[in-house]
């Protein structure tokens, strides 16, 4: 029985079948891998660089960063506060039409945050801002339109990267190093 199967597989047809199966498996795996690396679809293709170019401070829309753990996503009301002054909202091809739609329908905009740390990391924006870190240190240069979109964060947040900066920041200060390299500082 097994021998017959093996014999069949040794034929050209069998070899082709095996080849196809292997290829299919391989491409499936590759596709699976590929999908995990794709940036998410966003409800609005929000151009950070444009807003930065207008000179809007990061903290205007994300005030939480200076005050607490989470920077926060601005409310619709905040978006609309400026954008209802801008006539472009009537342009049917503008990205803004989505905002108009959300505001008119009173539905929330379902953003997909891209700058995320894993759940087991307790990240606090305030401490980092207070320590003199600039937003672009972690989130990239928002003014550079090639570098930052709302679909990707240029920096992959992993522990080595965090720790490197922590140790650099601590410098020769031993007490600071202890605090900044303590597992319990971020994981609890």
């Amino acid at each position: 029985m097994i021998k017959r199967i093996f014999d069949w597989l040794k034929q050209p047809l069998g070899l082709i079948a095996v080849g196809i199966a292997v290829l299919a498996l391989f491409s499936l795996a590759a596709y699976g891998l590929y999908t995990t690396q794709q940036p998410p679809a966003q409800p609005i293709q929000f151009p950070h660089w444009k807003h930065a170019a207008f000179g809007i401070q990061c903290l205007y829309c994300h005030p939480g960063a200076a005050k607490g753990p989470s920077a926060g996503i601005p409310s619709q009301a905040k978006c609309w506060g400026c954008h209802n002054q801008i006539t472009k909202t009537t342009d049917p091809n503008s990205e803004l039409r989505f905002l108009v739609k959300h505001v008119q329908e009173g539905t929330p905009i379902e953003w997909v945050p891209v700058a995320q740390v894993p759940d087991f990391v307790q990240f606090n924006h305030r401490a980092h801002v207070a320590a003199g870190k600039n937003c672009e240190d972690c989130h990239g240069d928002m003014g550079d339109k090639s570098q930052i979109t709302i679909a990707q964060n240029p920096q992959v947040f992993n522990m080595g990267w965090c720790l490197n900066c922590h140790i650099e920041t601590a410098g020769q200060d031993h007490e600071k190093l202890v605090k900044l390299s303590d597992c319990g500082t971020c994981h609890y």
Binding site: Q37, S70, P74, P108, E110, D119
Partner: protein, 738 residues
């Protein structure tokens, strides 16, 4: 309510919960992506990631403890005690902590429903307009005297609202009932206060200020009246930092977790509490010398010792302790009052206090302060009054029954036949938040908000020196399509028109509340004051209520208290059988905690059993009967029979068995019930109330502890889930001793 509330405009952050559970390992970035909905209108005092704290009132029992609820992004995260509230001073009990598991319970009633047949599973979802019309029709189309409201002991504002409605229209006055009130024998306490002090009131016992505390069955560290406040009092009694460590003696036939903390635990024969109290009084009076008070004169200590099973020396030693103490306090309560002679027990024990001359003094007995907007003490219905209601239902005198905040089919003993009587009521409308047994038997369920989603107030009946009105406000927006019962009633009354509309001339619940607290606005000595009602209401919400800054407790008059005879008869016990039956309220679950999984998983303080009902039995008795731990026994009383596994309990009289109340639900969500092998819903544990007969004490409270029962072995084993180790704690299964 909608107007004020909509301003908050909370939005749930969809998927945040999923995200927290999703990834610990972390695969690719895509698996981490979640959608986040920002606020559409961010409340100005909110920052993302920062918590907002709201003051409100706990609704897990009627005590009225103030809570501060931590909310984050529109979700309630944690309840903490309100440190400003004079009743609980920032503390909570386990049930207060677990109230969030009620709020986010997966088994809540999500929409108003109409049931096609009572007790059936088939329901139709209604919209609120139609629901309110149903209520309006029920009010309008029946004679007022055919409409009855049955309510729980909390919250008070709906009770006030219905009372106003009833007063204006001639409806039956709303009845309030709760199993806790029944087990606390509140009617007996208040009746005794009336008899002795001339004023119906809940006595307040200042445990913290006392030097010696004698408690006759009062389980004041568990569920009794105001457990958080009494526990604080107990800590004060024991606090070695500030004064001499106070002594505590507990008289009861089965060691409760309160009794476990006692320096001396006196296992007296059930029914002899009055006798023992009077005997101690007599012996103490003899020690002190002087004229023998009439109240104690007729009792013979030797006889009391024989009857109660306490050694005479013990009685003498206790009397000495009582007589020689500068601050001796005696507390009646619990199972001691739930007997045929309960009123006599309460009087005898209060007489001890008169003898100790502590009335109205620190470490003594007070009359509880009336809440700020209260003129007289309003006790819940006694079981006899409930029996009268049931009788009325049987007689067809009640056409519509509204049920709110109480689950009579579970909390009332079976023998009162509420279930049978409800068949004679043509329409039952339940406002239950949870699909409990009564809601299952109702024609309509118009779910009220959970306590944390509701407005309201609760009067603090006892436990605080200051008069306190604890205020409640929604801390989160309603999770389901529920509606405040007060709003439903106000709208329905207006639809019904006539006297109904006149009785409730309010726009919504908040306006009604404002009308109820408006009079406090300018009162002197208040914790808050304001010039206009919106500001006052805002302060009221912000501080979690309103309280007076001074002591509002009444001083009972001691006149003639000792100069009267008190019946020292033993209690009568109903039923055949060799065992006294002592039911007690589960300290962790109480009457309505069974649907909260973490309360189920809390170990009982005395037995450490979780998730089930047990029968406590003395090791000697168990040995004689050939019963071991986890053997299921059948308990037969005159009113019914139950089967439950045995817990061989070292601290119970050999002639007594005890059982906790709180389990045995046939409905009430997945955590309160169990499933058998075939997936059918079966009760989790049993309800000892099924064993209670129709016997009352003089004050009308149910003589729930006045029973004798038989025990039959079944040969079945049901292992109890215990936190403790049978090996380590009892040495069972460790092997023979050397």
């Amino acid at each position: 309510m909608s107007k004020q509330f909509s301003r908050r405009d909370f939005l749930k952050l969809a998927g945040v919960g999923a995200a927290t559970t999703a990834i610990l390992t972390g695969c690719g970035p895509a698996s981490r992506y979640v959608k986040r909905e920002p606020y559409m209108q961010m409340p100005e005092y909110t920052y993302n990631g920062q918590s907002t704290y709201y003051a409100t009132t706990c609704r897990e029992c009627a005590a009225g403890c103030g809570l501060i609820v931590r909310t984050s992004q529109g979700r309630a995260i944690k309840t903490e005690g309100n440190a400003n509230n004079p009743l609980n001073l920032g503390k909570t009990c386990a049930r207060g902590q677990a109230t969030l598991q009620g709020l986010y319970n997966p088994d809540r009633v999500t929409d108003p429903i109409k049931r096609s047949s009572r007790g059936g599973d088939s329901t139709a979802v209604m919209d609120w307009d139609a629901s309110i019309q149903v209520v309006a029709d029920a009010l309008k189309n029946n004679k007022p005297e055919e409409i009855a409201f049955l309510m729980g002991m909390a919250p008070d504002h709906i009770f006030d609202l219905v009372t106003d409605l009833a007063n204006a229209t001639g409806m039956n006055a709303p009845m309030r009932f709760g199993a806790l009130g029944m087990f606390e024998a509140r009617a007996t306490l208040s009746k005794a206060a009336e008899n002795l002090f001339g004023q119906a009131s809940l006595p307040f016992f200042d445990v913290g200020g006392a030097q010696v505390v004698f408690s006759f069955g009062a389980n004041f560290l568990e569920t009794w009246l105001s457990p958080v406040s009494y526990t604080r009092g107990f800590a004060g009694l024991r606090e070695a930092r500030t004064k001499l460590r106070g002594k505590f003696v507990q008289f009861e036939s089965r060691m409760s977790s309160t009794g476990g903390k006692a320096d001396e635990w006196i296992p007296l024969r059930p029914g002899t509490e009055a006798l023992v109290a009077l005997a101690i009084g007599r012996l103490a009076a003899e020690i002190r010398g002087g004229a023998m008070p009439r109240a104690f004169a007729s009792v013979d200590p030797k006889d009391a010792a024989t009857k109660s099973g306490i050694k005479l020396e013990t009685l003498e030693h206790l009397a000495e302790m009582f007589a020689n103490s500068t601050g001796a306090l005696a507390i009646p309560g619990g199972a001691a009052l739930g007997q045929s002679n309960g009123l006599a027990v309460a009087e005898a024990v209060l007489a001890l206090n008169a003898f100790s001359d502590n009335l109205g003094k620190p470490g003594g007995v007070y009359l509880s302060a009336l809440a700020p907007n209260q003129t007289e003490y309003n006790r819940p219905a006694s079981a006899r009054e409930m029996q009268a209601l049931v009788q009325k239902m049987f007689d067809g005198k009640i056409k519509v029954l509204f049920v709110h905040g109480v689950n009579p089919l579970f909390e009332l003993p079976n023998s009162l036949e509420f279930g049978g009587a409800s068949k004679y009521v043509s329409q039952i409308i339940s406002f239950a938040t949870f699909p409990d047994e009564t809601a299952r038997e109702a024609d309509y369920v118009f779910p009220d908000h959970h306590g944390l989603e509701s407005w309201g107030y609760q009067r603090v009946a006892t436990g605080s020196a200051q008069p306190v009105l604890s205020g409640a406000q929604p801390v989160v927006s309603p999770y389901y399509n529920t509606r405040a019962t007060a709003d439903v009633l106000i709208t329905a009354a207006q639809l019904a028109g006539g006297k109904f509309a006149e009785a409730l001339p309010f726009k919504d619940e908040v306006e009604f509340l404002q009308s109820k607290i408006a009079s406090l606005m300018s009162e002197a000595d208040g914790s808050i004051s304001a010039l206009d009602i919106p500001t006052f209401m805002a302060y009221f919400q912000q501080h979690g209520g309103y309280w007076k800054m001074s002591d509002g407790r009444g001083v009972p008059s001691a006149e003639d208290m000792l100069n009267r005879t008190i019946a020292a008869d033993e209690a009568e016990f109903a039923g055949e059988g060799e065992f006294f039956f002592v039911p007690f309220v589960s300290p962790t679950l109480a009457e309505a905690g069974a649907n909260k999984p973490w309360l189920q998983e809390l170990a009982d303080p005395t037995t450490t059993v979780m998730w089930n009902t047990w029968v406590e039995m003395n090791p000697e008795t168990a040995h004689e009967l050939g019963i071991e731990n986890d053997d299921v026994v059948k308990i037969v009383s005159e009113a019914g029979a139950l089967e439950a596994p045995v817990y061989v309990y070292p601290a119970i009289r050999p002639d007594t068995i005890a059982m906790p109340f709180g389990q045995g639900h046939t409905a009430y969500g997945r955590y309160a019930t169990d499933v058998d092998k075939d997936g059918n819903i079966i009760p989790r544990g049993v309800n000892p109330a099924d064993l209670f007969g129709q016997h009352f004490n003089e004050a009308g409270d149910l003589a729930f502890a006045g029973m004798k029962v038989k025990i039959e072995k079944t040969g079945v084993k049901k292992p109890l889930s215990r936190l403790e180790s049978l090996m380590g704690v009892y040495g069972i299964g460790l092997g023979e001793e050397h």
